[in-house]
Amino acid sequence: MLLDNYRPADLFDELVDSQGAVRPYYRGLAERLRGLNQEELGQKLRSLELLFMKQGVTFTVYGDERGTERVFPFDPFPRVIPAAEWERIEAGLIQRITALNLFLYDVYHAQKIIKDGIIPKEVILGARHFRPEFVGASVPKDAYVHVCGTDLIRDRDGRYLVLEDNGRCPSGVSYVLENRSAMKRVFPGLFGAGAVRPVDTYPADLLATLRNVAPRGNPDPNVVLLTPGVHNSAYFEHSFLARQMSIEIVEGRDLIALDGFVYMRTARGLRQVDVIYRRIDDDFLDPQVFRKDSVLGVPGLVDAVRRGNVALANAIGTGVADDKVTYAYVPDMIRYYLCQEPLLDQVPTHLAWRDDDRKLILDRLPELVVKAADESGGYGMLIGPAATKAQIEEFRARIITNPRGYIAQPVVRFSQHPTLVEGGLEGRHVDLRPFVLWGDSVKVMPGGLTRVALRKGSLVVNSSQGGGSKDTWVMVA
């Protein structure tokens, strides 16, 4: 009944094909959804909301006056990914994280990729998150990005495109786990529609990934999670993951660096820390090295890292790999380091620092998406077709004064998925953030976080900008 009135727009629709027929891998689920009546559904939605409230699944919006903490909006219609499709995505993600880690090792060592003329020197040295002070420093097992959240969208033809790699502190995985457990509690009947690959081994896999980089191969390392504190937008996730992995969650003031080692203050005195899963940006890690005004970090931490007495995940300086100008070179990186063609496509990108690209960008601002090279989370962005004249002129000035700082891409009208709104189902744009772990082996969590732009027609899925999420089902076969 619910599905009968669903009208897809003129885009790639996840549920129905261009003829309006439900895609085969959604049929089981659609059948079961048809069996629910409006009243039952309403009841289930209320229990979902209550569940999320009780679990405290929240996030924080910066610069919002109406109380900053909100329940993360959840849409109960799951997104389904068939096994064969997922296989290709998974392969592409493994290839990508492999190349990114080789790239990071290279730019912090011999910089062969620059010397061989694949990536211009200016791109790397000009990246805000490049840390020249780490050139020549070693990290355990040459691992830089241990946890990667790569954002994918689907174009008009249903082709998956990489939108960006988040190789610093990607967040959102806790919502994946919470969404799944909520769905199982409130809609157990839907899971009869076919075997769904489980996601619940993620905390154990993450812990194994962290233990893998323990200094000097210590088999029983003390692993902690470093959070900026309760006011951070992802604090819910920090405490959730620490609890799931049974490790301590600490703030900067709980740690102390002495003689090149890092210790945790406990009721029984100091205890040495071996691996820090840090959910705090490079800038705030250590006021002796980075931002002097940071009160979140630990003075002396970077020295301990350099001496190899403590490992950080992700490593310092990974931001050079998720810089949006570097992004444009990832396919070249894959060819250079792995001698392979990229398995996943990405969005064509114009770089403002190239003279001819800049001219094109400035001429076509109203039709392009402009992004600040070093921002993430949907901040520092201009969506040309939706922008006012004043906003466009503001970006024009910014690009002219700082061409290295901006890139532009065509607007990709990415896929939509039926989403429950008042009065039934409507299509809303969705993306997908799978999580990849680079440990002793590479593990990709089946599925990932499907984010939904809840506002009609909006292409912005970030939770900080009014996005919600869905459970994501990767089918076994």
Binding site: N101, L102, K141, Q340
Partner: protein
Amino acid sequence: MKLRVTHRTEYRYALPVHGNTNELRVTPLTNRRQKSLMHVIRVVPATRLERYHDLHRNPVHRFEVEEPHTALTIEAVSLVETLPGPSGLLADDPSKALLGDESLRESFQPYLLPDGPVHITPQIWRAAIDIEQSPGGIHTMAMELMRTVHAGSTYAPGATHIGTTTEEFFVHRKGVCQDYAHLLLALCRAVGLPARYVCGYVYDARRGEIIGGHASHAWCEVWLPGQGWLGLDPTNGKPVTDAYVAAAVGRDYRDATPVSGSYWGSGDREMRITVHLEAR
């Protein structure tokens, strides 16, 4: 069948080594029997991979770790789609007379000569000729040659070493898949049947059903004129099925070694190989 193969090789060096150069033949081949869907190789310490094809058209990856190190891990993960081979004897079994063809002998010369560990001794030649005399075509003969290797040998890890020749193996008939494969090559080549060595992996669905497949496995392929290469596994006495994934072919073991290389350094070296196959 869709198979996911994880092949890990780990070295530990007692003293730091450097200039460690390696050639890898761990990439599943793409041919009419199998298709490589995805393949990623990860090397720690970090290093760039180069790729080329060797004389046998195997995809080869090469890398060098210049800086001193005490551990090296090579992990190859592949996803392969395989097709079953012919299950019984072919209806049109090609005639043995075709093997006398001059152009065939020329184009398959490397796969017809005794070389390296593949010695054709008078005893091996005698055994092969006896089977060649029986009625039937090439396929029938090849199956019989494989059966004779299988039936007369005992699988015994440790009985032989990497350089054991067919001459040595033929005396006691105790060895591993590599020895079985080399002997079958010698028998086939003795009667003019082009035969090559295959190194790869085998999926043992019911653990323990397949002998010799716990790490990488070795078997043979023989050339059936007009039909192409046919895979035969003498260790198990069976034709190759869709559970087999070929990663390299060659004249013998030397051409198809999964990992081979050299480095500067002295001191002991430990090696650990793990191969894991999973049906998807």
